[in-house]
């Protein structure tokens, strides 16, 4: 690749980088306190529907091997 072509590629790349940074710089950001509150609320509201957090009764566990029954 000729050095002229290489340097114009580098400039094109640099332009794209600046373009992308402009895009990312211009977004609205909320405070971490608000973001945290929302995360905590989500966890709190959904905790009761989380089987791994709440535990699963043996009778409702599809992965638990059923023990064979013996007739006495």
């Amino acid at each position: 690749m000729s050095s002229k072509l290489q340097s114009s590629n580098n400039i094109a790349q640099a332009r794209r980088t600046v373009q992308q940074l402009k895009l990312e710089a211009n977004i609205e950001r909320i405070k971490v306190s608000k973001a945290s509150a929302d995360l905590m609320n989500y966890c709190g509201e959904h905790a009761k529907y989380d089987p791994l957090l709440m535990g699963i009764p043996a009778s409702e566990n599809p992965f638990k091997d059923k023990k064979p029954c013996t007739i006495l």
């Binding site: 640099a14 992308q20 950001r29 973001a35 989500y42 089987p51 957090l53 992965f63």
Partner: protein, 338 residues
């Protein structure tokens, strides 16, 4: 000043601007904000099933949306479809290339996909009398590290060629190429609303993309090595990453920054995989040290560990109904825990 120097100056200026804006939003940390939240209970899960059948290292697994079937990929050159309730094998799909790195189950349950060092994503139909190859998606110039179906007609891929791509499965062509990473893309995850996806790469960055317009919306930094695993928090407002730097991190999308890091001085193995429980409270992270550690996502504390594999945990997955967690390992076994 030459144009190149001008661009460099402008870039540095913009980076400082972003840094300052993030700092201005950082009025607390998640751990501090959650200090009043009751700690998550000590989580002690038991192995309910050990799925035996692969003859070599397992590299990937993915749950079907029915929460019962799952697909796993091994460098023994096979995909195995398992019924996780019984532990039975439903199907074994022989792969053209045994160097597989990823597998995926379509939401419909009709298709699965795999890919790896062959640089291709191969899509298979499970519903024909014999499993058939539907398409070989061939355009990446590097290995396929991750694939996820949007539907039976569209699939997203992440590649070692530093790009991600959205494919039309019927035509076999790339609809959109997502260009911005400067290192191998190692993982991707779809947002709950399916409009966005997040990618993690060897450039230690995580990037948020708009699927339809193809643009990178946000870039998250903080890791100091390759990001191997990534997942959305169930609300869609945050993402969790796992890295070779031995830490996991949560980034909030709306405050555009890292809000907590999951790390331990005694942990010096890289994170290979991760999955969240349905409430988002628990993070299951697989490590090179053969364990899967369980983290309290809000407080940043370790609340449990899944020990039982005899080699690296390479993949982790929680089904949609959250009823268990599956770990896959280089020891050739998959384990179901709850």
């Amino acid at each position: 000043m030459g144009e190149m120097d001008q661009m460099k100056k402008e870039a540095e200026g913009l980076k400082s601007q972003i840094e300052a804006a993030r700092k201005a939003a950082a009025d607390t940390t998640l751990a501090d904000a959650a200090s009043g939240v009751a700690p998550a209970p000590r989580v002690q899960l038991k192995t309910r099933k050990t799925l035996k059948g692969h003859l070599a290292k397992i590299y990937a697994m993915h749950w079907a949306t029915d929460c019962r079937l799952m697909v796993s990929a091994s460098q023994d050159g096979k995909l195995i479809i398992w019924d996780a309730f019984s532990g039975n094998k439903i199907n074994a799909v022989p792969l053209k290339s045994s160097w597989v790195m990823t597998c995926a189950y379509a939401p419909s349950g009709n298709l699965v996909a795999s890919g790896g060092l062959d640089n291709m994503c191969t899509v298979y139909n499970l519903k024909t009398p014999v499993v058939k190859t539907v398409k070989e998606l061939d355009a990446h110039t590097g290995y396929l590290s991750c694939a996820r179906f949007l539907s039976d007609t569209e699939i997203l891929t992440a590649s070692g060629d530093t790009t991600c791509a959205l494919w039309d499965i019927e035509t076999g062509k790339q609809k959109t190429v997502f260009l911005n990473h400067v290192g191998d893309c190692m993982c991707l995850a779809l947002s709950p609303d399916m409009n966005m996806f997040i990618s993690g790469a060897c450039d230690s960055l995580a990037k948020l993309w708009d699927i339809r317009d193809g643009t990178c919306k946000q870039t998250f930094q903080g890791h100091t090595s390759d990001i191997n695993a990534i997942s959305f928090f169930p609300s869609g407002n945050a993402v969790v990453t796992g890295s070779d730097d031995c830490t996991c991190k949560m980034y909030d999308l709306r405050s555009d920054q890292e809000v907590i890091s999951y790390q331990d001085a005694q942990l010096n193995s890289g994170v290979t995989s991760l999955a969240l429980s349905v409430s988002g409270r628990l993070i299951f992270a697989g490590y090179d040290d053969f364990n899967c550690n369980i983290w309290d996502s809000l407080k940043g504390e370790k609340v449990g560990v899944l020990s039982g594999h005899d080699n690296r945990v390479s993949c982790t997955g929680v089904p949609q109904d959250g009823m268990c967690v599956c770990t896959g390992s280089w020891d050739s076994f998959l384990k179901i825990w709850n």
